[in-house]
Symmetry: C2
DNA sequence: GAGCTGGATGTTTACGTAAACATTATTGTT
DNA sequence: AACAATAATGTTTACGTAAACATCCAGCTC
């Protein structure tokens, strides 16, 4: 088809090309292109035909320049290898699409100050109207990294102190539910396999675990740490297998999978010998052996709120610092049982 | 700070504002902004100061309009809930960042023709220079969905017939390795738990399983199907537990997790009674009980090639239809053993 | 049929940037 | 000291679109 050929010509087809072919003015093409009124049907058809013939595609740069907006949100994140980030991102993209906004991904190359700074500096180049930051570590240091002024932003999973809007799962509440569930089953105390100390989310869960134990006058066992990975959970599990432990709260489901493997290997039965509660409620957790009792995080809701909040700020040209917590829900499956 | 206040003013700060404050021309500001030579150090400093003072941020719409490129790639995909998509996307984003390109996500609302068409039509509005399509199902029907003419594209995981560049993991080769590994261990035949029939990847693996069995004159057991989820693997596993089966090739690791659960429940030992091979090599698979023998997919390589290929096409203004296969690797862990 | 109304269409302009070209200042050479 | 040659900076213009304003013409009122 010569259409293909036409299109590959040096310069892209513009409104005036279409206008010339259709025998109308560029403005009329613009009106048709935007579905504006004031164009008689026969003219409209002519223009549409000319558009098809030339393979016209509006130039979004020019549009954005004229309109002052890209209808695009930037999402800064560290990694797509954690369930939470992915699910949140997915929800953000879905909600944004509903509002007719696109999502631009701004990956942070490495979880270092330099990496973060790099991502933020790239922000200046990017065609985004506002940004959502999904941060898992203490690297959003206001001293070194600051958002370009005038850019509206919402931050997920960080401290509320930055002066930006913050949205997060209610980590503390979720952890408390997990620990209380185990204590209510009659366990004397609850061990904890935490995530890395660099993660805010991890630290919140640790604190809640501590205070919940304290509130019930339970002895606090030594804290174990992993890096969120199943393998690190396995290592922690080997330690737990040696310990005199009947109940464990693991800071995410993947590490819980590792703990389960360690227990299987050592002949420790779950939940008969030890009860385990995870965190996240990843889809696979129903297929663990046994299916995992876990704290469900509503990532979809987090994502939705991010988009809603940042769009609201844009529309009202306001900033709304403050923390917005999304509740969790304990999902009881087969990895927990009454203490023997 | 009054800086904040300044910035929130009605109109965004432009080059000429900076130029006025710094007492230079707009062009000089442009030079500083782009790091171009021909600006004396003292002038540069003045300009930078003025930029900071006003909170200047280059307008990327105007830039893109001038340069004729957004330095942005669009990625169309169905879902972020499969490991493969996420890992591929991550690799794409990383490679794109290296090339100084950003990634715009174009989620497909629903895996239907209408959903796909919606995503593709939104393409016109979007500020992207080229696109990468990550498709898992037979919905990229050229009759209903066609890429805007003049837009360079690369497709992951689809048929090579569309006239576009296609990149994919070598599914057939991977499946063959899995089946041969099991046969080499002395198993008489190999069962297969497939993914949904709507998936190209799934069908390729099924075909390779069939032909590998045929090549060795093995009886072909009935085909079982899941939907990629661990739960569906569990259901298939319950069937397998009843069958007279010593070796299973499961089309992805998540379903393999479900099969493992079913076997645990039924007291079937892996690998003593039944050997299992998965596909994907997700990080968690090392923490299954037992750690899973599986076919490693090099998603990172797929992502890299996508970006490289689409950028090459853009630069050369060419189309290169054809299929580009990324090899797989069998990772032997503890879920497979010699037939009893 | 003159004057008016309003819908259809055309013309002008500005959005913010950067390439191309033009001008001015500075330095080195004879 | 006159003059290139070069470096630093300024001016003009175009990118493609859409708002604002201008024009034209058909159909209507009186």
């Amino acid at each position: 088809m010569s259409r293909q050929h036409l299109v590959r010509e040096d310069r892209r087809v513009s409104m005036s090309d279409v206008a010339r072919l259709a025998g109308v003015s560029a403005q009329t093409v613009s009106r048709v292109s935007n579905g504006n009124p004031g164009v008689i049907e026969s003219t409209r058809q002519q223009v549409i035909e000319a558009m098809d013939e030339l393979g016209y595609r509006p130039n979004s740069a020019a549009r954005a320049l004229k309109r002052g907006s890209f209808r695009t949100l930037g999402v800064i994140l560290f990694t797509l290898s954690t369930t939470g980030n992915v699910r949140t991102l997915e929800a953000i993209a879905a909600r944004a699409a509903e509002e007719d906004y696109a999502i631009t991904l701004i990956p942070v190359s490495a979880p270092t100050q330099a990496g973060v700074r790099g991502a933020f500096s790239r922000l200046n180049e990017l065609a985004v109207d506002a940004i959502i930051v999904i941060m898992e570590v203490h690297l959003l240091d206001a001293a070194t990294v600051s958002l370009p002024p005038g850019v509206h932003a919402v931050v997920v999973d960080s401290d509320a102190s930055d002066g930006y809007s913050v949205i997060d799962t209610d980590q503390a509440d979720g952890a408390q539910k997990a620990v209380e569930h185990l204590l209510d089953l009659g366990h004397e105390t609850v061990w904890h396999v935490a995530g890395p100390s660099a993660s805010f989310a991890s630290e919140r869960r640790v604190n809640a675990w501590r205070s919940t134990l304290a509130a019930r006058d339970c002895v606090e066992p030594p804290l174990l740490r992993g890096d969120w990975s199943a393998d690190s959970g396995y290592v922690a599990g080997l330690t737990l297998a040696e310990a005199n432990c009947t109940a464990v709260f693991v800071a995410n489901d993947q590490m819980a999978l590792g703990v389960l493997r360690a227990f299987h290997e050592k002949g420790i039965r779950v939940p008969q010998d030890v009860s385990i509660v995870g965190f996240d409620d990843i889809p696979d957790s129903t297929a663990f052996s046994p299916p995992l009792t876990t704290v469900h995080q509503d990532f979809a809701e987090v994502g939705r709120r991010c988009v809603d909040k940042v769009l609201k700020q844009m529309r009202e040209n306001s900033t709304e610092p403050g923390l917005d917590l999304v509740p969790t829900r304990l999902v009881v499956r087969e990895s927990t049982a009454r203490s023997a």
